[in-house]
Each structure stands twice: as structure tokens, then as C-alpha cells.
Symmetry: D3
Subunit: 238 residues, 6 copies
């Protein structure tokens, strides 16, 4: 029995609020149950130095948590003087995943930055960030198209992300904080709308896991991601 009384293959309630903040070119509040992340997409002309003159665009992401998004207050990274290692790892993952779903030539020499700021954390903040950021990214691409910065949407496919794990010996889908802190294995999966893998990051927390555990988890991930993509499409009218 899961702490939340969900079935093993049952996700938390998922929602997207579009136009959450007025300034960004794309702005989405994504919720996976009590996990709430603001994903803001900013379009800027120009690219980092290593791409200048190539005709290609760039997509990058930043990730942070409000100090009290968690149960204990965390020190601000600006006080620490640098982003936490964990934040950097997550924002590298988000950026990499988003770059996989866009044709960079089609962006021209423009940069899209997606800021994922966690308002409230209850497990799965990185997976919610990726799923929400993908929606904000599409909004930003449409905004560019409207202003004729790009001719057509350079989107290869939608992506979404969910966590799976082994909890008390059984594979479970979309772990909340309570499960996450007790799971034997924790795996974050990013997949395309076609069911292919973009990222797979599995970690044995307690015991090493076996190939059959992996297969059980991947099956759940595939189911969850199909549901997420379905909801992304609905909110984007795709």
C-alpha cells in the first residue's frame, strides 16, 4: 500500500496553468499533486559565443527552489554564493532534454531560457519541471512564430518526464516525497511522445536493482508519460 493510497501505476493529479505570469513569452504553473513549479520561458535574440555565426539557436534552463518550498527552510543560493550542486545537475538535465526536442537550425540565432522555480516541493520537482517547461517552450515558440522571428515551429516532438521507483519491493509510478525518501530505487525518465527515451537516470538507494526491476519500472514510466503527453496536448490545443 502506498502512503498516498494510490495504485502502483497511478499518477498524482496533474495540472497546468498557462499564462501564470504576465511578462514571460511562455509561463506555466505545473502541478504534480502538491509539487508546484513555475516554468517561465524567455526569448532573447543572440546565442552564446560558441554558436555565433552558425545560424543555430540555443535552449538552456535554470532551476531553483524557493527557500521555504521544502519542509525545512533552505539557505538561499545567493547567500551561499553559488548554486547548489543538486540545482546545477537538475538544470543541466532540463536543458539537455529540451534541446533534444527542438531543431536548433529552425530557431535561428535566438536563445530560449526556461526558468523552473519550485514554489512547493513534494517529490518529483525535476520531472514536473521538464514536463511544464516543455509546455512553456511551445508557448514561446508560438510567440516567436507570431512575431515572424521563425517561420514554422521547429518542434520535433513533445517530451514529458516522470519518476518511477521500487518501493517496498514493488515498482511504483510518480513518487511523492514520502515514498521518495524510502524507495530502494529511484529512476527519472524522460520520453518523447513517440515513446522513445531521451534520458534515463536510475539510482539504487538501498539495494542494487536487477534487470527485471528495470523493466518493471520502465513499463510504468511509459504509461505515466503517455498520460502526461495527453494532458500537455490538451492544454496546448494540439
Amino acid at each position: 500500500m502506498r502512503p498516498s493510497a494510490r495504485k502502483n501505476d497511478e499518477m498524482r493529479e496533474i495540472s497546468f496553468v498557462r499564462n501564470f505570469i504576465k511578462h514571460p513569452e511562455g509561463s506555466v504553473l505545473v502541478s504534480y499533486g502538491d509539487t508546484k513549479v513555475v516554468c517561465n520561458a524567455s526569448v532573447m535574440s543572440g546565442v552564446p559565443r560558441f554558436l555565433k555565426g552558425t545560424g543555430q539557436g540555443w535552449i538552456t534552463a535554470e532551476y531553483a527552489m524557493l527557500p521555504r518550498s521544502t519542509n525545512d527552510r533552505m539557505m538561499r543560493e545567493s547567500q551561499v554564493g553559488k548554486p547548489h550542486g543538486r540545482s546545477q545537475e537538475i538544470q543541466r538535465l532540463i536543458g539537455r532534454a529540451l534541446r533534444a526536442c527542438v531543431n536548433m537550425k529552425g530557431l535561428s540565432e535566438n536563445t530560449i531560457t526556461i526558468d523552473c522555480d519550485v514554489l512547493q516541493a513534494d517529490g518529483g520537482t525535476r520531472t514536473a519541471s521538464i514536463t511544464g517547461a516543455c509546455v512553456a517552450l511551445v508557448e514561446a515558440l508560438r510567440w516567436m512564430q507570431t512575431r515572424q522571428m521563425i517561420k514554422e515551429l521547429p518542434l520535433k516532438f513533445l517530451i514529458a518526464s516522470v519518476s518511477v521507483g521500487v518501493y517496498k519491493g514493488f515498482p511504483v509510478l510518480d513518487l511523492d516525497y514520502q515514498e521518495d525518501s524510502n524507495a530502494e530505487t529511484d529512476m527519472n525518465v524522460v520520453m518523447t511522445e513517440k515513446g522513445d527515451f531521451i534520458e534515463l537516470q536510475g539510482t539504487a538507494e538501498g539495494h542494487p536493482f536487477k534487470h527485471q526491476d528495470l523493466n518493471g519500472m520502465l513499463e510504468l514510466a511509459q504509461k505515466g508519460i503517455q498520460e502526461l503527453i495527453f494532458k500537455q496536448k490538451r492544454v496546448l490545443n494540439l
Copy 2:
């Protein structure tokens, strides 16, 4: 005529959402029109070193803006490596104002940290932060009382804050971003529910201002703060 078509002594629409985030001991989303700030209060036992053994508590504040709370994306302070000078100035102001309305002896050796994070900025983020933080502070004090960390609420009075200015030669109340960037004078006022001053910070942006300008602005500030205190009391059932 003000850009927003408001009357000179008319505030923007003010609202407070309590329990905005689930983890903090006090959590308020305050809006002054399109300016939206999350104010989260965290109670921690213990005090900074200079107060140890005195039996007194401490209140402090931190202030930051999401990168895309503004029209142009700002670089994250964690990337810069340190808080901006402006942020530090504002959080020093917020902390000072909140400490003025609490009896520190009555807090025992506990610290309350109020995080003010601006989701969306349209002028007046520091005044909205103070007004919202005061509500979150009262929530946190009540939380402490419920848990018998303190016997009675050590609150001396409520405080609220509003900006006033001279715009096109006339004093105006509660400037939004468009007015703020064109005002000749900009003044932030923090007052108690009794109508006394806690902080007064006036800056001549264009021309120096005269004593009669000051009096005109203070009259508007007093009116605005009365309205704010009225709304704080209603949302706090005081």
C-alpha cells in the same frame, strides 16, 4: 491623468491569499494590482549569536525577484554570486520594519525569517512585501502560540506600507511601474495602524522636492495605509 486612469488617491486592487504554500508557518500571496509577492514566514528555534542568552527573539527578512518577474529577464543572484545591492537594501528595510512591530522579549529565543519572493513585478514590490509580510508574521505568531512556544501574541501593532510620489506635478498614491519610472519623486512609507511612522524613504528622481510636496505625499500615504490595514485586519479576522 494617471496611465492607469486611477484617481490620485486611489490604490490598485489589493488582495491577500493565506496558506498559499503548505510548508511555511505563515504563507501569504499579496497582490497590489499586477505586483504579486509570496511572503513565507519560517519559525526556527534559536537566535543569531549576538542575542544568545538574552531571552530575546529575532526577526529577519530576505527578498528576491524571480528572474522573469520583470519585463526583461534578470540574471539570478546565485549566478552573480551574491545578492544585488538593491535586494539587500530592500530586505534590510523589510526586516527593520517587522522588528518594529513585535516585542522581542515576548518571542523568547526564536527567530522568524520572512522570505519575500516576487513572482510578478509592476512597481511597489517592497511596499507590497512589507504589507504581506506583516500578515504572514501574524500567522506565524499564532502558529507559535498554538504550539505554546509563546504565551501571548507579542504584536505591538500592525504595519503596512505604500509608495507615494509626485507624478506630472501632482502627488499620487501607490505608483505602478509606468508611473514609477517617470515620477519626479518617489517615497516609500511604512506606518503603524495608529498612523505613526516606522520608515520614510523619499528620493528626488528628477527635481528636488519641497516641504509642501512632502506634506501632500504624506497625506496620501496615510489614506492608503488605513485602507491596507483595514484589509489586513479583515483577512486576519482581527
Copy 3:
């Protein structure tokens, strides 16, 4: 009775030493009693990026205290790794005040940086800094005029600054450290030679203050600033 036995409207002994250091384009040692600040003005051609091509100049300030300018030795900001919040707040104030008294178009695309370094602190370091910096600024403008970098002095008016406060229930002028640490209210005022306000920053330290306290303090401030401007003019042969 004030600790220094001064009358309520009596300033400390004020002095200016011009050409204190040989390298800067303007160099003034200002003293308000035992408070001693070196104000050095540096002229550099060029302006910050946001002003390039506008034909306008820029004025900025930096403020710091020698580690042992105070009774207890303070850690150097270069050791801490960043300026203290208090230093940044003060240097923002100084810069803003100095920019108000110069016509930026008349500066052409040149930058003047005023470094205010406190050798010895006894209360009122920010007000002494502003008053001394104004003298160093005029020296630097004259230096530019001599070298024909500018045609005429783009000075709108002189400014000076003084602190006022409520001490043991009475308004007092130009607080020294002993008064400052015990005052109920502390207010820093920057005014022009014409008696108009540039900055007004009042803080209730102990009790909130009333409108009549404000008026009492402002009256003293006006008197003090007239004396300071008189002395500035004399040392500048104006």
C-alpha cells in the same frame, strides 16, 4: 542634555581639507567632529554600457570603512568576498544624491567615481561622505574644465547632508555615535543649497514617530544644512 554637551541644534566641528591625496582629480578629507572620511573623485573617460552613445555622463560612488575605523575591528569586505549590505546601501545613496546635482548632458560621456573611505567613525559617516563628496565632485569638475573636457561646470546646485533624530524625546541635530546608538528615531537628510529635499530617510529605532516629530527634525536639518553649504562654499571659494 546631549552626551557631548552640545545644544540640540548645534553641529559638531566641521572641516574640509582639500588636496588630501595627490593622485585623484578631487580629494577632500571631511570631518564632522571625530568622524573623518576621505572623498576621492576619479575622472574616467567613457560611461557604463547602458549610456553608451547617449552623450550623457555618469556619476557613481563607492563607500567603505577601514577595518579599525570603528571601536571593534571589522572584517575586511575583501575577506568576506563582497561588500556588506550596509555599504552597498550607503554607496547607492551617495551616488544617487550626487547625480541629482549635476546635469549629465553637460558631462559628456565621462564617468566620475567618488570613493568615500572612512578613516575614523563616530556617527554620521554617510552624511559626512555626501557633504565631502560634493566638494570633491566640484574639484573634479573644475579639473575637467581646465583640461577642456567640458565647457562649463554642469553643476545644478551644491548639496549637503546631515542626520537628525529624536533623542530622549527631543529632536537633535548631527548625532554622534553615542547618541545614534540610543536615539528613538534616526533620519538622514540630503538637501540642496536652495533648501529643497534630495533624500529623506527616517527610521523609527525604538518607538514609531509622529508627524510633529518629523517637522521638528526637518527644521533642525534645514539649519544644519545651511551651515554646511556655507562652509562648502567658503572652502571652494564660491
Copy 4:
């Protein structure tokens, strides 16, 4: 055909030099072909604060590259002022993997830090680091046992790591730099000597990858890790 003319399931030449540096409690130079990493294990009594009084030990890792371990000279992280995001991500991975193979209770309140410093990089520095660090860790545990800091070796199993990928459409084992920069998919695998998973990190660089690609890569990984474990055992006389 692979650039190195290796077969798809063929690893580079693997070697371990024990006692590479004289000061550490464990010191191993590990080579995967031209990739050379020094892994130094340091034993210190005491544990981080969150473990004090629990009777448990701790294992952590740090990872860095010499500036000229790569073809282009990289700026030193001490000049940048903080470790690169990539370095932090890798050292978090190494630490997590090593902690999985030790019984922390059996370490008592001691900390082992493994420094992995890359002398020469040619792809696979993180996998070589993990495999070499595991050997250095065993050396350090034996050193502790000799000094009776611990009664028995608290080692659950050996671990080793290798990269696999999809290169020109085929799965390949142990990618060198030339393959790595052109692979469609890159996956780092950490497994135990029993063939179970500790970490799995797969990234689609070019195209998303399919479940059958995953299976092909995992088969190669398993073969490579068996060979690595065999060599670890021989060099450790296990």
C-alpha cells in the same frame, strides 16, 4: 568500424597502479587507454554534522581535471571561483556509487574522501574514476583494519563502471573521446560484482533511443563490467 579499430564489445587496455602517491591511505592510478585518473583515498576520523552520534561513517568524493588534461586548456575551477556544474555532477555520482558498496555502520564514525583527479582525458573519465576509486577504497579500508579502526572490512561488494553507447547505429562498449563526441546515445553504467545495477544514466545526444537499443547497450555494459571486476580482484589479490 570504430575509430580505434576495436570490436564493438572490446574495452580499451585497462590498468591499475597501486601506491601511486605515498601520502594517501589508498592511492591508485587507473587507466582506460589514454584516460588516466589518480584516485586517492583519505581516511579522517569524524563525520559530517548530520551523522554525528549515529555510529555511522561516511564516504564522499571529489573530482577535478588538470587544466591541460584535455586538448584545449580549461580554466582552473579555483580561478572560476567554484567547481563546474559538470564536476559537481560527477563527484556526486562517484560518492553515491561508493556509498552503495560499503556498510556505513561498519565504518564507525570515520569519513573516507576519494579524490579523483584526471591527469589525461580521452573519454570515460567518470567511469574510470569509479572503477579506480573502488580499488583505492578497498586499500583504505584495509589500512583502517590494520590499525584496528574497524574490525572487519565493511565491503558489501566491488563495483565498477563503464560507458556504452550507440555509435553509427550500433551499440559499442567503453567509448573513447572520438566516439563519445559523435555517439547518438551515451550511457554510463555502474554495476556490482554480482551483476546488479547501482546507477544507470543514459542520454540521447542525437536521436531518442529505443528499448531495444537500451537492451543492446546493457548487454555490453555487463560484459565490460565483468572484465573490470576481474582486474580489480587481481590487483587487490582478492
Copy 5:
């Protein structure tokens, strides 16, 4: 002929102002011609961690230049985020030299910090700092003796410092900025009042120097240091 028209073995005008600043336990303004350095000594009870419980004291130094002490304005180290390499090198030298002249056992577990802040630089700031710091140190030791923190002055000997160099082929004493920037060799010498060496730092700027150059320079240094020690003694009434 030297630019200053001094003879080869002629020092600049040397002066010491005692009690320059009121707060420190020792405060000296030292001038070597136009080079002016404030040396402030602070006595604090307690020692760094590595000396706790040893009964020994500690002496350390910090060195910095005001931004406009030089001809071109230098960026503040607090803006850079860390002390310049040059500053650190100089303060390590000053600290080492001062520790050589005090019996650390006789200090008990107290720390003396000497802050050397350069107001105006014209060559030789590090040598002036050492010579002035020695006077401030004696003042601080006397202050401790008066308060019975120490029984007797734990001073082994006075030290002083001067630069020598090879300028246009001839050895010269006490280089000013103009000579320093053109000297072929530059050497800083710290000696005791007995004529023994504490530090010797010689650098060939243009050509390597020979043993006979070294001897020529050391002879001048010895003469200069005798004069400095004579003046130190006079100002200290020794």
C-alpha cells in the same frame, strides 16, 4: 642621476605620526616621501584554532590600497570578490616579519592584527608598511602592558624595511615609483636593529643580477635601515 635628484644612498623624507586614528590600540601614519600608509594595530583576546591551548599568541597583518592611492584608480578588492594576489603576498610578508620580532609565549593567548592601508602610493608601500607596523605594534604591546594583559614587553628587537635596487647600472636606496618602474633589479630587505636579516626578496626585472650587485645593494639597505631604526626609536622614546 636619480629622478628625484637624491644621492644613491639617500632615503626619502621619513615621518611617523602616532595616534593617527583614535580607536586602535596602536595607530601610526608612516610616510616615505609621498608614500603614506596608515598602520593600525588591534588587540583581540584569543588565538587562531591551531594555537588554542598552547599559551602562545599570534600576530597577523592585512594590507590594502585605497582605490585612488595610485595614479590610475584600481577596482576595490571587495568588488573583485577577493584580495589581489599581490596584496596577499605583501600581507603574508608583513605578518611573517612582525612575528619574528616578538616572543609569542610572552603574548599569552592574544592576537594582534596590524592593518596597513595605503592612502597614497609612490613606491615602497610594503617596506613603509613594515616599518610603520613595527611602531604600531610596540604601541599595542605597551597598551597591553598598561592593562596588565602582559607582564613585560615581549619584543625581541625592532625591525625596519627598505627597498634597494639597481637603477641605470648603479645600486640605489629607497626607490620611489618612477625608479621602481625602471629598475633592473628590485630588492626588499627587512632587518633587525642589530643588522641581521629577517627577509630578503630580490627580483631581476630586466637583467639577472650578479653577486657583486647583491653586495652593493645590501650595503645600502643596511645604511637605510639604521636610519629607520633610529627614527623609530626616537618616535617611540626608546
Copy 6:
């Protein structure tokens, strides 16, 4: 008797391994007994800003120690956030010494950076760094000549470095760690192959030293440096 049983004028075993790492333009592992330093030379086109357009090149050095190159593990400088003062002082010394032996005009506008990374420390890491860096520098210059970036080797002379000291009252050559920590005086000497001085840095650790001590130490230094230069020439086939 020296702890190592060496004669007073006897150096440790000296060796150079060329081509230690494959990527750099010059790469040398230098050993002075148990002190082992990797010296990697990197050639980059372009020069620092202050040399642009002068037709001159630049040589600079960086120095660091692996965390466990010493008996106690040192915190990484990238964790501290900045290089240690000691590292900066040493790298300034290395850079200065190397610049003395090259004709900068002959380098054209190219920069050579020498990274000296200490793998294992047993006293004398800065002297070994300089001696090894000189060999790596020659390798890099030859590499440039082969690629016709420069016409002829702009090398004025070879340099080498050794430490000397006073140990138990006698002058000794090439101190190892055990001697170094107990020596009364420690002096680092850099000389050219012609026997002239480039740098001389002597520090009295215990007692001040006398002119005759200096002469005794310099005699030993000269002998040691002749041996080092002989070995440099042999390994470089000069």
C-alpha cells in the same frame, strides 16, 4: 647529520620525464626526491589586453597542489572559492622567473601558460616547479618553431631553482619537508645557467640570519643549480 643522511651540499635524486601527458605542447614530470610536480605548457595565440598590438608575447604560470599531495588532506581551492595566498605567491614567482629567460618580442603575440600541479609534496615544490617548468617551456618553444609560429628559439638562458637553508646551525642544500619544517632560515634561489640571480627569497624562520650565513647558503645554491642545469641540458639534448 641531516635526517636524510645526505651531505650538506648534496641534492636529492633529480629526474625529468618528458611527454608525461599527451595533450600539452610541453609536458614534464619533475622529481626532487619524493617531490613530484607535473609541468604542462600550453601555447595559445593572443596575449592579455595590456599587450595587444605590441608585438610581444606573454608567459604566465599557475600552481596548485592535489588535495592529498601532502600528509594531511587539504581542502580544494575550488571549494574554498579562490586560490590560497600561498599558491598565488608561488605562481607569481614561477611566472616572473620564466618571463626573465625569454625574449618576449621573439614570441610574437602568443601566450604560454605553464601549469605546475604538485602530485606529491616533500619540500621544495616551488623550486622543482621552476626547474621543471623551464624544461616544459623549451619543449613548447620548440613546438612553436616546428609549426613556424616563431622563427628561432627566443630563449635567453636556462634557469633552475633550488632551496637552501640553515639547519641546526649549518647551511644545507635542497631541503626536504622534514628539514624545511625545522630550518632556522629558508631561502629559495633562482639562477641562470650563467650563475646570475633571477630571484632570491630568504626568510628567517627562527633566528635572524647574518651576512655570512647568506654567503654560505648562496655558495651551496650555486653548486645545486649547476647540477640542475646540467640535467636539464641532458634531458633536452642541449
